[in-house]
Symmetry: D3
Subunit: 322 residues, 6 copies
């Protein structure tokens, strides 16, 4: 069946630095029909309160995703053989109007979902995950595995502004897009606005795993607990690049030292394998603050890891369905 699947450009025929920059060097397509996984950019950072720049994330992650090859060296999975994957381009956004952008992003993801594909989006700032959740959780709240330095469950900012990249998961819970008892946040750290900053989240049932706990227990144990929390029902994965240490991912708006190593991050993502995922995203890669593409390389690799996990799920489901 895979003979009809989209394949990346062959690096032994077209060098990695050649050709148009698409995600994973896959074909650029204009619609998600027939796809198992749709790779989409969300070039928007209208929710950013300090250092903007994540709007440039999709383009640079595409650029550096040229470094990815076709097979996962641990899973031995060949994602492009077991799933039909393509680059569906960037979702429409409005750089000047926040609410219009939220509508446009939701509509873009809804099209992917309607086509039966799993969305794997690259932001953009973390507020973009809110409209994605509106599209993937239309029927029922989903679970969430959330890698981040920040809980992003604040209430308002600058008066009554309810929509910033510090608030998406509070809104998502209020909108019943997430089941808070099936939400786990990993990598949280850094100074906070007050000793009670996370109280609301914890009161909802969110499990916050700070870096200090992660350091003590390690990826295996942490992910075992995370998988228990999320369970077998549909869940979403959101990976904020600032969960990774700023020495490894400096190109982001709100860096916090003492973060995950990329080695740990890869291990964490691989341990998502087997969950029942409705989509995933990678957010907050901000090229204007990056150094020599370091963050885009990390981002592209995490995206590849997420894609392999999704492809394995597609493969499993196809085989079970067969």
């Amino acid at each position: 069946m895979s003979e009809n699947f989209h394949q990346p450009v062959d690096a032994a025929k077209v060098p990695r630095f050649a050709g148009h920059a698409t995600f994973m060097r896959l074909p650029a397509v204009t619609a998600s029909q027939g796809l198992d996984i749709a790779l989409a950019g969300i070039p928007w950072d209208g929710g950013t309160t300090n250092r903007a720049g994540a709007r440039h994330g999709p383009r640079e992650v595409r650029n550096y995703s040229s470094l990815m090859r076709s097979t996962h060296h641990v899973f031995k999975t060949e994602p492009f053989k077991v799933a039909n994957i393509a680059d569906v381009g960037d979702l429409a956004v409005n750089p000047i109007d926040l609410q219009d952008s939220l509508r446009l992003i939701e509509a873009g993801v809804a099209e992917i979902v309607a086509a039966g594909a799993l969305p794997l989006c690259v932001g953009g700032d973390h507020l973009a995950t809110l409209p994605v959740l509106r599209a993937v959780a239309r029927k029922a709240p989903v679970g969430l595995i959330h890698f981040d330095a920040h809980s992003d469950t604040n209430d308002t900012y600058f008066g009554n502004n309810a929509y910033t990249h510090g608030t998406p998961f509070r809104r998502a819970i209020e909108e019943r897009l997430l089941d808070p008892r099936r939400v786990v946040q990993i990598g949280i750290r850094g100074s906070i606005y007050g000793p009670d900053e996370h109280d609301w989240a914890i009161a909802q049932g969110i499990r916050i795993i700070y870096m200090e706990e992660f350091s003590r227990r390690g990826p295996d144990e942490i992910m075992a607990e995370a998988r228990d929390i999320v369970g077998e029902d549909p869940a979403y994965v959101t990976f904020d690049i600032d969960s990774i240490d700023p020495s490894m991912a400096p190109g982001t708006g709100t860096p916090e030292i003492g973060g995950l190593s990329t080695r740990e991050a890869q291990q964490l993502v691989r341990l998502l394998d087997g969950l029942n995922l409705v989509g995933a995203d990678l957010v907050e890669v901000s090229p204007p603050f990056d150094l020599a593409g370091m963050t885009s390389i990390a981002g592209a690799t995490i995206m590849f890891e997420l894609m392999c996990v999704l492809a394995r799920q597609v493969d499993r489901n196809r085989k079970e369905g067969a």
Copy 2:
């Protein structure tokens, strides 16, 4: 009288790299009362449609303004002896709400004006000049000398968005803040959206001087014409750093090659001397895209040149008033 004026820190006592970074190493004050010239930052880039970052402009221009000394080497003017000048800090802005920011900026400048001081603002993107004009032109339209690569007189963007950094001078004319027949734009260049992009501006009476005409005629002749156009009535000066060539000012959102040299820019600003100015600004310095502070150094120096022109006006007026 100048014994009561604010003085910058003495570099022969405190090294240039030491101390808190304020504009020109002047004291930071909290109100404009008693000032002749108020140096204010506008850390906001909510009107930016492509590459954001000018929100960081005030801080970095402050940082590099430490390189400025106390006397203009051509005018021999000592601005801090002839005018009372201080750093009044950054105007309040709202990074998440465009209209609220426009209100806040106008209010901030209005306070400066009410105190009898001339505002010299550092942006921020060029939309910030609109609320500044609302504050300085409350009584009657003013003239404008506008250095820029772009005319910034577009109508709308992304549907019906009327307020971006590409539209401020159209809005200002519509709001009767500017007298279009007393507006001159210098340095305009670069590809445009259509052959008629500047027709509206020209129809209003704006005089657009493209780089090509500037190159042929030179600063002296161009400024003679500009001064004729603006005349003796109150006028405002706005200096978009992208009027300068991107090799000399790379840190900006919308670079266009073939721009002014800094040598030409300094000559142009000095030729403003003698006009009847109600204020001035420097905008679009975007540190995330800068290199080794090059743009902030250029910006700080242009700010110093503008400050000297304003200080000479204060001095003239004081002497005439005496």
Copy 3:
């Protein structure tokens, strides 16, 4: 007729930082049929003897060409309305085999020529121009307007290596691709290997205009002479980005201070208008040595200027043919 022409993405609907990076935000097409002008990358620097990196040029010039708009502000030409233009992708190359690359590049350009389109190529190092000339000058030698810091008419290098980015125009003359009496080189400068380094070129009839002569006489006079030399017969234009001063185009392998300003370079390219061109290229943009995209921005703008000249020729020819 232009209703069938390819159009760039509309920046008022899709922000400049969004979407796939193609030349001028035009559609990516796979064949040149129906095109008037084919924009092609040549991601290859196998002829480079010192600092490699021009292989990355096409991708970054594409990236920054997003800053270009649809209309030339001096000509008022709308290139996409008067000519059918698209991005035909990168020509095939072989990063490991020089002679194979020369064959592949020639074949790629030959396809463009066979389709009736004018090639506008982005290198890659300057040796790439040799196979381009092999494709465009198959029937008869052509004239050449050559902007560069270096004459590139050396004989051999490192023993008997006849093919490097320092030799293409010697080879092209030997292969009768160029009529040396119709070749003019502008911007030549920098230390040389011996006092006789340019003797061979001059003996062939090439007109070398050093920077010093250019500085004295200026663009208008220089281009009047250059147009006389090239005449009305078919000619090719090659623009080495190192003709521009390294402060404005640092991202190149062999920088020489004292070069053209971008303002002069734009003026020179515009003065090509009206020649009988068979194609053009921009070479030696080397992103690994670039700073904040400065060289890619300059390169993309020069490419836009060249494209407008070619489009005007297409328009003239179509009208004359009509």
Copy 4:
């Protein structure tokens, strides 16, 4: 009581990129009276023997300390509620005269001490710690916890120069400012000048913990030993940023690979809690060698961690005193 304490600017009212850059966005004050903790810069690198630049450290650490929030996420300590803290500016230095600088720095710290405040200084190169110790250890030798890649106990340099950033702790012991049996150095590594380079220090009783031992034993065990060594008597903490790995803190003059991770560094600093500290410093942040502010961010965060430890001590002492 805390209602009278200085508070940082509220980031929900003034964005982090706005306002004057002071340490932790606290008010700038001119004297230490009434303070519990005085944050002071020492913009001086006159003791540097290889790559200078730490003179620019205080300004950039101030700049990036804007990223800090008000509460420690592990301790839940709110330092600005339990201690009165402000930015007292930069101590006077003389960039041209080493001995004069040592006198000036000592005098500056002595004023802080006389006011009853704990000094938390940001260098500057490590020689600056010598005059700080002269001010804080006037009555009796103190203990020292010293995080560094280098022991800094050399004797002389370049003939008989006794005062460089490689000698401060030898001088401090000779001057009886430190009790060598209460000195512990953590993180020492890198090639040395001879097998006996550390013999003098060890002979004095200093406990040197090399990175290799640290790697084997881990932060908890190491700090348990360090606390035993220092005991309950007054002690000082000096944190050389080059103790952290150069991938996480590249902006320093004498980088040594194989260093502490920021995660380990934070853990180490937190384990200082409960000691009897007379002050602390952070040194050797050298912005000219930094990348995207990475080192200043790390430095500002370590400074925040140190400040929280000091604030908790102030709080404990106040409660005990009450």
Copy 5:
């Protein structure tokens, strides 16, 4: 005996930033006679298929090796006292001709070997190790300890190109330069071209230790196994800088996240002590992609560590021979 050995410039007399940049500040000599260890550069990256630049490696590693001092802080070895070491300059290469370069490099190393010195080479890309092996393994196949992110045992590339930096160890085995059962590869990771990419290598008997296994088992256990595999017979060590994590060594052509820390890398190299080595190299440092010299510093330090291991072997052999 060491009084006749070459000594580095004394940093207490000539500052580290002064003087000509040679490896370890040793004298530059023109021949290897009398040396125990010859430090040589191989400024060549003709085998690179993606991002070139390693040709600039030797110059920058020389530059940053000025930071090295004379004594290993763990071994307490003084390499310049126990072995005669010098910088023999760069081996001849041909930047335009791959096969000629392979011949030249082999000849250059053969001279070192003939003089009785151990070669310690700095590349250059990894294909350079092939001609080095041709020189050091002329009599019999040797063992190999290979630190790398990639196995470099591919067969061909771009058609039938057998010689790239992805193929050297396949060629070396085919040419019987290596005994595959005595080859161990450590640090391998990253996406691969197919699930069978490493099958050939494994079938030959090569032991591939992926990063995941390394992370679980740690340096001590891994090196114990590696030493068992290599045994007491002659072996070569090749250290590809991309084995180290790109956050610590970004200046390389084919970065893969999740790599060795420098701390681990130093530990690994130290555990080579006692093997029977015929030479060593450090490859793939690519300065055009580096940041603030970070990769060159790491490379110079690894080179110092390798040099100390070789010097200890020289010392042992001399003592045993005595």
Copy 6:
């Protein structure tokens, strides 16, 4: 005769990126005997009052001087055929002791002078020119052509410090090393400490040519006057890289916008030809503030231009002497 002269490495045999980095790829020699021109580094910036880093200048100028070829393209001079030139290394300095450094530098240059060679030195900060003048003007005061943004004739700094990079030419006049009526300063600009800052210099008879006058009159006219002022008696040339615009030479401690273009700078240096020079220097290249080697490239090229002028003088003198 030239067969015995030192020759640079042949770039057609050793690529420019290969080999040890010496000035102009010339041999490194240890004494000046037999030389006509001695190229020497002065790695010292102890006179710097703001941003240090020029101590790293010699090494990076050496590095980028690899880009220079053997023949001047305007003069057609082959410097290495008409003069015996070599790299005599860096003069001894003391990074910790200013007065000791002044003594060491004078002694180093005195050796060159004693050997009968002309010194061409690369700094280092501008205070280094004072000890050079002490060595070259031992018998009688010399004239000076001084390219700079700053007059460097201040009196004291920070109390009574008489020796900084802002004072060398005042000291030189006081010490009767310079004849002030034969001193001309070109390119002076930027804000000053007071309207009388240059009064002392002018009172001595120094001719200060500000950038504004230079812009009006141009290089030919300016240098005609400068040559008249200096006359036929012995003169020294000092070239501060900050005379060049910071867009072309950003790597310097005290940048001032509005400077010379490199094109103008080259023209100025060439117009020195025919003067009676006793030596020359290039100072204030500060690599830590540089971008992509831009300033070092400009510095190396200016050094090459100065060397050609000196070589032509050697050639003239030899022919006249013959």
